[in-house]
Symmetry: C2
């Protein structure tokens, strides 16, 4: 359970960390902003400050438990790291997010980086558009 993951990340096992990890695992939403997590905590009557939410999420990121994404919305969103890298399709109207993985694109990226003699550390591909539900509505 959560305690193990936190311990293995080299962090002390504290109430805020357990709660936050639990929310990420069970909230039903893959992508949450710090604010979302904070609101969820409030709705569970937890006494955890927003600063702690940011601190904990940043530590989780450093430990590889979660990934931080910076879509164009001004806020960062966090998602549990399930080991597999993937890219995103984001609806610019309702904010819906679909994850996808495309080996062809990954391969091309590697080739392009190699052509420019870059050593890849990470990458981010986000396609913005209208999801099926939002195309009719205007």
């Amino acid at each position: 359970m959560e305690n193990e993951q936190i311990k293995q990340a080299g962090l002390k096992v504290t109430a805020p960390r357990i709660k936050i990890l639990g929310i990420l695992e069970r909230s039903g939403k893959r992508h949450m902003s710090a604010e979302d997590v904070y609101k969820e905590l409030l709705s569970q009557d937890e006494e955890i400050g927003l600063a702690t939410v940011y601190r904990v999420l940043t530590q989780f990121e450093g430990a590889g438990l979660v990934c931080r994404r910076h879509f164009e919305s001004g806020q960062s969103v966090f998602e549990l790291n399930n080991g597999e890298h993937h890219d995103h399709l984001v609806c610019i109207k309702c904010g819906a997010i679909v994850e996808f993985l495309d080996p062809t694109i990954e391969t091309r990226q590697k080739r392009i980086a190699a052509e420019h003699h870059f050593k890849i550390e990470d990458h981010s591909l986000v396609v913005y558009g209208l999801c099926p539900n939002c195309q009719g509505t205007r």
Copy 2:
């Protein structure tokens, strides 16, 4: 020259706009943050406020003269729009930026969006890594 572009964008031709567009065209840097542009203006003893820089860049963006990018640095960077869409390779150490265009990736993106019934509006692909110069140094 600049005046024409500004006029064609449907904006009044004013000193701040001419200066800012000139800086984007002649600063030698393809990618500049609002702050970069502002500093450049200051170094030229121009009396232009930072708020105006943001306003003008936003208008230029709306007019299609420049593109705004949101790399993971917390700041937006602006680049002159040369008509052709392209993606970026960013050095996480020195900040160097290389632009590239890969038709295969573009095609795959369209296909993926179609598979998910998304209507693409825009997309952003950024590969982060170490440029040739920064790989030796640590």
